[in-house]
């Protein structure tokens, strides 16, 4: 499967990571499927902490009601807080991905996000995985269209202007419904 990623996905996912640097974050990816390809079109930050079933259901339904036309929920992104743990999906992340795959009746995509410091600069890297809907097995994406250069150029403004401070995830939205989980300012 080939995966390509639009700029707003990088921006929103990275903003979510930067806003909650001391917590694991998870978000939903929506995109368009073609024969052997998936284009990730938008990201909806979900939570900065454990994701529970009732609110996951509602979040999926609200995303379905608000996502761009012609797109479906195709996967998730997850970032685990900087620790000595090796970068991988959390048990909760795996469960959510399985739900997404079963819901879509198709393989689901996971973007794992690493945040590291290299030469005193923050470096955010994206890794793509896919979960097979039939076997629920996670593997590398054969042709990941992730472009590190494109990702970093997308994030420059997000970091420089501190746009990540205003990112809203569903955790925040459910506490205060005046906060827009679509994050239009980052689109």
């Amino acid at each position: 499967m080939k995966v390509s990623v639009e700029e707003r996905v990088y921006k929103k996912a990275a903003a979510h990571v930067l806003r909650y640097t001391t917590e694991d974050v998870i978000g939903v990816l929506v995109g368009r499927r073609g024969p052997g390809t998936v284009t990730l079109v938008d990201a909806y930050p979900l939570a900065h902490g454990p994701v529970m079933a009732p609110l996951l259901e509602i979040a999926f339904e609200l995303i379905d009601a608000n996502k761009p036309e012609g797109t479906t929920i195709v996967g998730l992104y997850e970032a685990v807080v900087k620790t000595n743990r090796s970068p991988t999906l959390t048990p909760s992340g795996v469960k959510v991905l399985e739900v997404i795959a079963d819901r879509a009746g198709a393989d689901a995509i996971a973007l794992l996000i690493d945040q590291n410091t290299a030469n005193d600069e923050e470096v955010i890297t994206f890794h793509a995985r896919q979960l097979s809907q039939k076997e629920h097995r996670l593997s590398e994406v054969p042709e990941s269209g992730l472009s590190p250069a494109f990702a970093m150029s997308s994030l420059e403004k997000v970091i420089r202007e501190r746009q990540y401070r205003s990112i809203v995830d569903f955790d925040a939205h459910f506490e205060d419904v005046s906060l827009d989980f679509r994050n239009p300012t980052l689109s």
Partner: protein, 287 residues
Amino acid sequence: MESKTKILERLVSKRDKSASDLKSIIHFVKNNNLRYPELVLDCSLQLLSKHSSGLDSEYHLIIEELVNAAIESDFLEVAMKGIKSLSRKFGDKNTKVIKIAGTYRESNGDENNANEYYDYILSENKNDLKVQKRKLALLKTKEDLQPYIEGLNKLLKDNMNDIETWAELGFVYLNNLNWSRALYSYEQVIMLNPSQFYAYIRAAEILYTQGTTDNLYQARNYLCYVIIHDPEITRALWTLFSVCRAIDRTGKADAKNATLLTVCKKRLKLCYEKAKTSTLIDNYNLE
């Protein structure tokens, strides 16, 4: 009632902030347990660079806020300068300075030194709960969380009424999908302080996830308790909506369920109208 985020936005959006405005922002974030370390850092730096002469006795309090915010935002050089300033004022052996220095070491990945600092404080006062927790927190970064979980349980043996530790234990169990232990932990929080509404909501979420009709009804009870006390907690409303729908799907719904579902939908629509974000649920079936 205006949300904390809106109040903070209002404080921050003021142009040409005075020293009093900057202090208000820092105090508001701290007193409401909000997490905006970069904002606190910005405000502290502005206070120290433009208004330091007027700070008097608050000068080192602001430095302390600056250091904590700098550590959390990973501006470790700034944090170190602040720690040196506190050290000059209060001395190297001051417990608060050592605690902050320990947190700095943790943030810098220097866990051995952090541990030594905490051990030093505990050798002077073994009952310092905050430092016991910080020392324990060093275990949270490891791949194997079992020692951390054991440490939390050990801490609770000596401090059975410590709500923060019960909540942290619940959180760790949740992250590891250990529902029954997570539920037990949150129910301890409820018993210790029945006004901790987030614990009721968490317990309800876990019960929903565990399934069974009995669990759904128990979840509904918890959520109704929260909404009776505060009908504008939208997280509780959404969770109750989800729970009532699930009860409906079991085919074993009691008479109250339909009423609660209707009340939930009306309340949610009102909340979104009040927040002026009804567009978010325009295409969502709340009928």
